[in-house]
Amino acid sequence: MVHAAAILLYISPKNIIFRQMKLYLKFDINAVCRKVLQEQLESLNLNYSILGFGEVEINNDPNSETIKALYQQLNEYGVSVVESHKSVLVQKIKDAIVEMVYSDEKLSNAKTSAYLADKIGQSYGYISNLFSDVTYTSIANFIILQKVERAKQLILTNELTITEIAWKLNYSSVAHFSNQFKSATGLTPSAFQRIIDKRKNAHLNKRA
């Protein structure tokens, strides 16, 4: 919003002869950006709220085409969406892995890549490169990490034996499970269990 008072008019004598006028403008950048956002979001019939400078929430779950159009329209004003396509995809991959690790259906390891490619709708080569670029780790390592984290949770519930946990998490043998746990944490499953138990007891003793 440019207030009248903010417009400094400077008319040079020379310019008067040519009937030209030079305007010196002062911008309220915040208001300009807000207006641009409002116009663009409204043009796509989006139900939105502007949360602050550089943050918009869209309330009616828009389809991907609308989002694409929005990105394009905003781009014309030099506005780009920071949350990149890449990080959205990486989050989707992470979610798919977590879902896979926590589902009770058994997946053979060979099918993991096909499962993820299918779930994400991109080739496995593409998503695995992208994943490594963004997260500093590989999909394979992330799956191991998630499996080990789930194993830790199962160990701590004390409901299943190590053998049962290995079977539930789809390891071919208890030895394979213990080895993977050990190489990921440096600890055996039973040492892990012992440490967490001792921690809890130490905590209880402090309170008592």
Binding site: S87, K94, T137, E149, K152, G186, L187, F192, I196, A202
Partner: protein, 148 residues
């Protein structure tokens, strides 16, 4: 979150160890800022300031004069403002029992100081990468234990 810089801190009374540590981080892929302190007393004086910028990961040498790494660990875990900092114990040698004890006291990582610089770099990279996964993937920090 991709551009976030991980704040790393080390308290170690050995000057060479501090130097190798800082150099190793310069060669690691994840972006970090490294601050080093010369002993446990200096560390706790720093952390106890209300407006101190806290590290994401704190590496503690066990054998330091005045206040040992274990003293610092216990103190940190008893202060609400500090207790969520990931703690990596950084020591020359230890028995399995010592390692377990520091975990019970609340350490997340136990590192046996490697002799080779290249190994040190790999170990520190592994620690910081795993910490990053806990940081960005909503994993339960209570279960973050790594002996390396």
């Amino acid at each position: 979150m991709q551009n976030e810089i991980i704040r790393v801190m080390l308290a170690d009374d050995d000057e060479d160890d501090r130097l190798f540590f800082t150099e190793a981080f310069q060669e690691i892929k994840i972006k970090t800022t490294v601050t080093t302190l010369n002993n446990g007393i200096e560390l706790m004086n720093y952390l106890n300031k209300e407006d101190a910028v806290l590290p994401h990961v704190l590496f503690l040498d066990l054998n330091m004069p005045g206040k040992t790494g274990l003293d610092c660990l216990r103190e940190i875990k008893s202060i609400d403002r500090l207790k969520n900092i990931a703690i990596a114990i950084y020591s020359t040698s230890a028995s399995d029992e010592d390692i377990e004890d520091t975990f019970v006291e609340g350490a997340n990582v136990y590192i046996k100081k490697p002799h080779e610089f290249s190994t040190l770099k790999n170990v520190l990279s592994d620690v910081i990468t795993l910490n990053w996964q806990y940081h960005t993937s909503g994993l339960n920090r209570d279960n973050f234990l790594l002996s390396i």
